[in-house]
């Protein structure tokens, strides 16, 4: 079994390579994805090996990238589109929400758009504005789209291939600040045996409170759990992985045991994923809850200047503070 230690970025790169090898109809398109290999090098070397017909440097226009990918999909291709940064997806928002999401529905199932829209998202890298946003709620709110996000190299490697193989249009959110974090990746495990794409997974078992997180915040939640354990409190951390559809089966089971639940995300709290999750947990686990479901999120302000992003972003302390509050209720 070939298990290698890869960064999350390299795991994505390897997953994309596999997808290009396995299906001639897979094409990668985006700004600077070819010769440069993407500004984060996620497509590094792919144009060199698969040619510029399959790894396409597009003109600088996001609406154009997604709109032409719709046409390619109708023609039978499986486009994998890269949006360079979260804050630059909005010129394509119309194409994604009005076209990509609705084709299957409008055609009564006759048209499939097996498209993957990769978006590096989230903050914590000290960037200038428009480079640190968390737009997941916009997409999760749109019926017809699926939204997933990975938190570790193994999932990055598997999930990107599953997303490409899926017949649904999928917004694939990549936690950019975790691109350089390393972990073991099993490169041989067949995709058919892999953990299903649209399912959450327990990242750490615990008995005292449940912490739900996804993408870049999974690491933060795990760190919080480690710190809490030193104080004698065992947190169960669940990596949600799929944001639309949500898979809360494991969460319900967990909260029914622990009676306490904290949801963590970087995106602003107001109408964020946490709102929907808290509502569902409350509906499903009402009689087991010892306290309300609490949310630890970004604030309801535009993503702020880099020098204050540390205070904007949920961190270990804020997660633990919320856990404490569930106990103080």
């Amino acid at each position: 079994m070939a298990t290698e230690t890869l960064t999350l970025g390299k795991a994505l790169n390897t997953g994309l390579r596999r997808a290009l090898e396995n299906d001639q109809k897979v094409v990668i398109m985006g700004e600077d994805v070819g010769k440069l290999g993407g500004v984060f090098r996620i497509t590094d070397g792919l144009q060199k090996d698969f040619g510029d017909q399959r790894v396409i440097d597009t003109p600088l226009a996001e609406s154009g990238i997604i709109g032409t990918a719709v046409g390619l999909a109708i023609r039978g291709f499986r486009p994998v589109c890269e949006i360079q940064f979260d804050g630059f997806v909005y010129p394509a928002y119309d194409q994604i929400v009005s076209q990509v999401a609705k084709m299957h529905y409008r055609s009564q199932g006759k048209v499939r758009i097996p498209m993957v829209i990769r978006i590096p998202y989230g903050g914590g890298i000290g960037a200038v504005e428009h480079h640190s946003e968390s737009p997941e709620a916009y997409f999760a709110h749109t019926a017809g789209l699926k939204v997933v996000t990975c938190a570790n190299p193994q999932d990055a490697y598997v999930m990107i291939q599953q997303a490409i193989a899926s017949d649904d249009p999928i917004v694939f959110l990549e936690p950019k600040r975790r691109y350089w974090e390393k972990g073991p990746v099993d490169l041989d495990a067949p995709l058919t045996d892999a953990y299903p794409l649209h399912s959450a997974r327990v990242a750490r078992s615990g008995t005292d409170a449940t912490v739900l997180a996804y993408g870049p915040m999974v690491r933060t939640a795990l760190d919080a759990a480690t710190a809490a354990a030193e104080d004698g409190r065992e947190l169960e951390v669940i990596d949600l992985r799929t944001l639309s559809p949500l898979d809360l089966t494991a969460a319900y089971e967990s909260v029914k045991r622990t009676g306490r639940c904290v949801v963590v995300h970087e995106a602003p709290g107001n109408l964020g994923l946490g709102s929907e999750i808290a509502a569902r947990i409350t509906e499903e686990c009402f009689y087991s809850l010892e306290s309300p479901v609490l949310r630890v999120t970004g604030f309801d302000v535009p993503y702020p200047a880099a020098r204050v992003e540390e205070e904007y972003l949920p961190d270990l302390d804020r997660v633990l503070d919320a856990v404490d509050r569930t106990f103080g209720w």
Binding site: L60, A61, G126, P304, R307, E311
Partner: protein, 392 residues
């Protein structure tokens, strides 16, 4: 061309070589008043027959040279500050000084500019303190200046968005009856070669055209959009795009400060007099990386950079000043000294830029606040205070 169109065959035959010729020569048809060797050209003809010339005094020539050198030096200082961790990022204008100084000096006091994130040279020529945009790059703010106070909009990072803002502003100028004559107002929109592919830019062309907006589209074609060369954005010279939208376009040698000035002044004056928009393509080259995060060796070859080095905007101006005996060597020493002083001054002030208070992130979300957000801010302050005195 549609099948069955009787003229199709002959017309396409006639058109084909013309297109090829333009592409094959490689030499753009550009307006130039100062050659790379520093030779003055008296008059240059634009594609529509417009005659471009400048009539500067020696003092004005010296002033342009000073601008070029200062702008380059301050830019180099910002790059150094980024390397030392004092800025999070820097988008260098190296190589594009003439396009920016020429167009920037062509603006009249009443004119309004809409920059991208690279127009530090235009900003300088507007008489604005070069420290102003550094807060954005240091990460202490996101602009924070009043566009109307400086007649210079905040930097726009989302590619192309500002061209629509410029168009709307220009429509407003016309609606206010502020066009016509010498003191009419004009607007200039800066953008890059890559930006020309964006929907926003093409929409701004449509809007400006049908509303006859007093606007100059100033495209700095620096040959790259990060790693993507011009050919990824266009098959025709960019200035020719204007024709299809119904306004004139001209390609100028963007490394020639005199020609950049001349074409911009003409276009601005055309706009201010109420004769509508035009497009200037300043043909230039990004000598450095896209930003300090970029590694251009991955996508372009050294010989290409060297070829453009020979067209350097400052070297040709220097050669001209010397040849014409407008200055002697002491002038250059004096300018270099001034540039050094100003860049040291800039550096000191960057180092002393305070970090914002974390709670300030809640400021200015709405003009009149919001009760919800006020509550969030209060909770945040309380939370932050709970750490005071602890190790945090």
């Amino acid at each position: 061309m549609a099948k069955g169109d009787p003229g199709a065959a002959t017309r396409s035959k006639r058109a084909a070589p013309r297109t090829r010729r333009a592409a094959a020569t490689g030499e753009p048809e550009l307006v130039q008043l100062l050659t790379p060797e520093g030779e003055r050209i008296e008059t240059a003809l634009g594609p529509d027959g417009t005659e471009y010339r400048v009539d500067f005094t020696d003092e004005e020539y010296r002033g342009l040279y000073r601008d070029l050198v200062l702008v380059r030096k301050l830019d180099a200082e910002a790059t150094a500050l980024q390397r030392q961790g004092e800025l999070g990022l820097w988008a260098s204008l190296l190589g594009q000084e003439a396009a920016q100084v020429g167009s920037g000096r062509a603006l009249r006091a009443q004119d309004m500019a809409f920059p991208t994130y690279r127009e530090h040279g235009v900003l300088y020529c507007r008489g604005i303190d070069p420290i102003m945009p550094l807060g954005l790059f240091r990460g202490v703010d996101q602009g924070g200046w009043d566009p109307n106070e400086f007649k210079f909009n905040m930097y726009t990072i989302v590619i192309g968005a500002q061209t629509l803002h410029a168009t709307g502003y220009a429509m407003g100028v016309a609606m206010d009856g502020k066009t016509g004559g010498e003191d009419g107002e004009a607007v200039i929109a800066y953008f890059g070669d890559g930006a020309t592919s964006q929907g926003d830019v093409n929409e701004s062309f449509v809007w400006a055209s049908v509303f006859n907006a007093p606007l100059v589209f100033f495209c700095q074609n620096n040959q790259y959009a990060i790693s993507e060369p011009l050919e990824r954005q266009t098959r025709v010279p960019l200035y020719r795009r204007a024709g299809g939208f119904g306004f004139p376009g001209v390609r100028v040698d963007g490394n020639d400060v005199l020609a950049s000035y001349a074409v911009t002044r003409h276009a601005l004056d055309t706009a201010r007099s109420g004769q509508g928009p035009s497009l200037i393509e300043a043909y230039t080259y990004r000598m450095g990386a896209h930003t300090t995060s970029d590694d251009p060796t991955r996508y372009r070859i050294a010989s290409e950079v060297e070829a453009w080095q020979a067209k350097d905007p400052i070297a040709r101006m220097k050669a001209f000043l010397l040849k014409q005996q407008i200055v002697d060597e002491s002038f250059f020493t004096e300018i270099d000294e001034q540039a050094r002083t100003e860049s040291v001054h800039l550096r000191e002030r960057v180092l002393n830029m305070p970090d914002p208070q974390p709670v300030s992130m809640f400021d200015h979300v709405y003009p009149h606040g919001s009760p919800e957000l006020d509550e969030q801010r209060a909770r945040f302050s309380q939370y932050m205070e709970s750490f005071e005195g602890s190790a945090h």
